[in-house]
């Protein structure tokens, strides 16, 4: 069984982020790391391939400046090979262009039985790219997958909902987006890190993939304004009068957490 994981490389969330004032886009000129959201997909892919008894996990990513640090992390976890699409022309690409580029990268790898993406990235949050890839490739897609089992050419998915989960069955090949926390991503071993250095990692341009127009030219959207997020308000303080639990329960019910 072969699985392709779409992984995003993002600026380290632990460091202060900055916006490019001319384009209102996130500055990505420093070192990029593997988006934690995608580490769950990589781990799930590795577990599915192991459970299937064979095959390999491949990666596709789109990032500026030929950045591969995040891909190397995923390769160190156990993925076999990767394609990076890196091209100055891609600057300003919107979600749909990104999906077109990644879909083309998937095809360059010869497709797979299963394509995995994160529900949303930790820096862009459009939450639309995986489903757009599925549409472009003509594959069924299932969002919010929290548990996946493969039975021959059929996939059983537990799909997270607000109330619980739906049991969904899909033929393969297919695409899923996985939620954070579904599996515990492994930490790369020293051996894995060393091995990742020599794993195949092909860097291509949008033109190599035949995708045009891209970047600002291909974007169907522009970011016209950016405003400061509203400051977090002080939390509600509840005095314990012996019946506090009812207020806590009702608070959680309002949030639909219970």
């Amino acid at each position: 069984m072969n699985v392709i994981v779409c992984v995003k490389q993002i600026p380290d969330p632990a460091l202060p982020g900055a916006l490019d004032s001319s384009s209102n886009t996130l500055k990505r000129d420093g070192k990029l790391i593997l988006d934690e959201s995608d580490s769950y997909g990589v781990e799930m892919a590795l577990q599915l391939v192991t459970a299937a008894g064979g095959g390999e996990v491949s990666l596709v990513s789109m990032a500026p400046n030929g950045e591969v640090s995040g891909l190397r992390t995923a390769l160190a976890m156990g993925a076999a090979k990767a394609i990076l699409v890196s091209d100055p022309a891609l600057k300003g690409s919107d979600a749909l262009t990104t999906a077109k580029v990644l879909a083309a990268a998937v095809q360059r790898l010869g497709g797979a039985d299963l394509i995995i993406g994160a529900t949303e990235s930790s820096d862009g949050y459009t939450g639309t790219v995986p489903e757009q890839i599925a549409e472009i490739l003509g594959l069924p897609s299932v969002t919010f997958a929290k548990k996946v089992t493969i039975d021959g050419s059929t996939m059983h998915i537990e799909r997270q909902t607000e109330q619980g989960y739906d049991e969904v069955t899909s033929p393969l090949p297919a695409l899923i987006s996985v939620t954070a926390g579904v599996v515990e991503p492994r930490y790369p071993s020293f051996k894995g890190i060393m091995a990742a250095k020599s794993k195949p990692l092909e860097t291509v341009t949008a033109a190599d993939l035949g995708i045009t127009p891209v970047g600002w030219d291909g974007a169907g959207q522009t970011i016209v304004n950016v405003s400061q997020a509203e400051a977090r308000k002080a939390g509600e303080v509840i005095e314990d009068d012996g019946e506090t639990f009812t207020k806590v329960v009702s608070y959680l019910e309002n949030l639909k957490l219970i």
Binding site: Y187, S189, F190, I193
Partner: protein, 386 residues
């Protein structure tokens, strides 16, 4: 190894060490120091992640990388605030075994440490022979196919969790030799041998790993556990104590950097006058100076690693690295304590809890004054002063 290769190895080891820190992070380390608990799970993670193979040659089941690999690991884990001292001891004991052990000893003592099944403590210090190891009284008398070991050691780190202790003893008494350097031997002592006793010392470094008195009472040690040549233990020790200085330097630099980062995080937020105190030069400069000194010590450290791994005499660089690293770490800790103000002494801030260990590294494993003596005599060729 080129500087770039060393830098790459540091990054790779640091990356792999994240899986260890995931198991025991700084908060957990401090909690275990306070409430009890070992670092066994961190040790298992180090084995599972392939980190215990660093420093052991591939022919002995390791992944190589000389002393640079273990130094990089010690630096990374110390920078995360979780310095594993028994690992440090095991790492330099292995270096001595690799260079002076028999094939059989390499098989017995190296491979099990790579898989995490064996940990090695180290015992040299005695109450009346602290800095002057030649004056030690612990004696191993030959009796047929074994030595009979008697003596008392102290400040033996993490001995309760070690499987073997590398013990330095006299096999020829001081009075029976003109040359004080002659007569020392290095023995691998199974901690569970009859006659080996441990008593905890009342030392609180805010570490889960404790210090012990080691009592050796007619301990029978097989002759095949002698590492190197009888009475010529100095030669074996040379390849234990120099790596120890390198690993201790990494410990100091890592822990100093950890303290510094905690200070930087704090002054970026602390704003009693409305603006962060980190915007004041009076606060910035001691932190900035500490960063520069830690960086300089790190350069010296890895240069010393390079010398050791190339088979050169690393003595000068190893000693100077230890001096600079421990002083830089202490300056960093002092600047951070000053930045935190009174809250540094609130145990919950975990700043004052960093201090004893960092301060100790100006004293242990050898005090900085003896290092200055070494530099004076060996490098500057000045007269011996003591």
């Amino acid at each position: 190894m080129t500087i770039n290769a060393q830098q790459e190895l540091r990054i790779d080891v640091r990356e792999a060490s994240k899986g260890v820190v995931h198991v025991v992070d700084r908060a957990e380390y401090v909690r275990r120091a306070r409430e009890g608990g070992t670092l066994d799970d961190a040790w298992k993670a180090m084995a599972d992640l392939g980190l215990l193979g660093l420093g052991v040659g591939e022919q002995d089941g390791g992944s190589g990388e000389g002393i640079t690999g273990p130094v990089a690991l010690m630096e990374a884990l110390s920078e995360a605030g979780v310095p594993p001292v028994l690992y440090l001891l095991t790492a330099f004991a292995r270096t001595a075994i690799q260079r002076h052990g028999t094939d059989e000893q390499r098989r017995r003592f190296l491979a099990p440490t790579v898989t995490g099944q064996m940990k090695i403590a180290f015992a040299i210090t005695e109450a009346d022979a602290g800095t002057n190891s030649f004056a030690m009284q612990t004696f191993a008398g030959r009796d047929g196919d074994h030595y009979v070991l008697n003596g008392e050691k102290l400040y033996i780190s993490a001995a309760d969790n070690a499987d073997y202790i590398m013990v330095v003893a006299r096999t020829t008494r001081r009075r029976d030799t003109e040359d004080r350097r002659v007569g020392l031997s290095v023995l691998m002592v199974d901690r569970h041998t009859a006659g080996v006793g441990l008593t905890p010392m009342k030392i609180d470094l805010h570490s889960p790993e404790r210090q012990f008195f080691l009592h050796l009472d007619d301990v029978h040690v097989p002759v095949e556990n002698l590492v190197g040549v009888q009475d010529d233990g100095m030669r074996t020790l040379f390849d234990a104590l120099n790596p120890e200085r390198l690993l201790v330097s990494a410990w100091a630099i890592g822990l100093g950097q950890h303290a510094l980062q905690r200070g930087v995080d704090y002054v970026r937020e602390r704003s009693p006058f409305g603006t962060p105190i980190g915007s004041y030069q009076a606060v910035q400069h001691p932190l900035a100076r500490a960063n520069a000194h830690l960086a300089a010590a790190r350069v010296m450290l890895y240069a010393a690693c390079e010398a050791f791994d190339n088979g050169e005499d690393p003595g000068a660089n190893a000693n100077m690295a230890k001096l600079l690293a421990s002083e830089a770490a202490n300056a960093a800790a002092d600047a951070v304590i000053q930045s935190f103000g009174g809250s540094a002494f609130d145990a919950d801030s975990d700043i004052v809890t960093l201090w004893p260990m960092i301060r100790l590294l100006r004293i242990a494993p050898i005090n900085n004054e003896m290092i200055l003596n070494y530099i004076s005599e060996r490098i500057l060729r000045l007269p011996k002063s003591y």
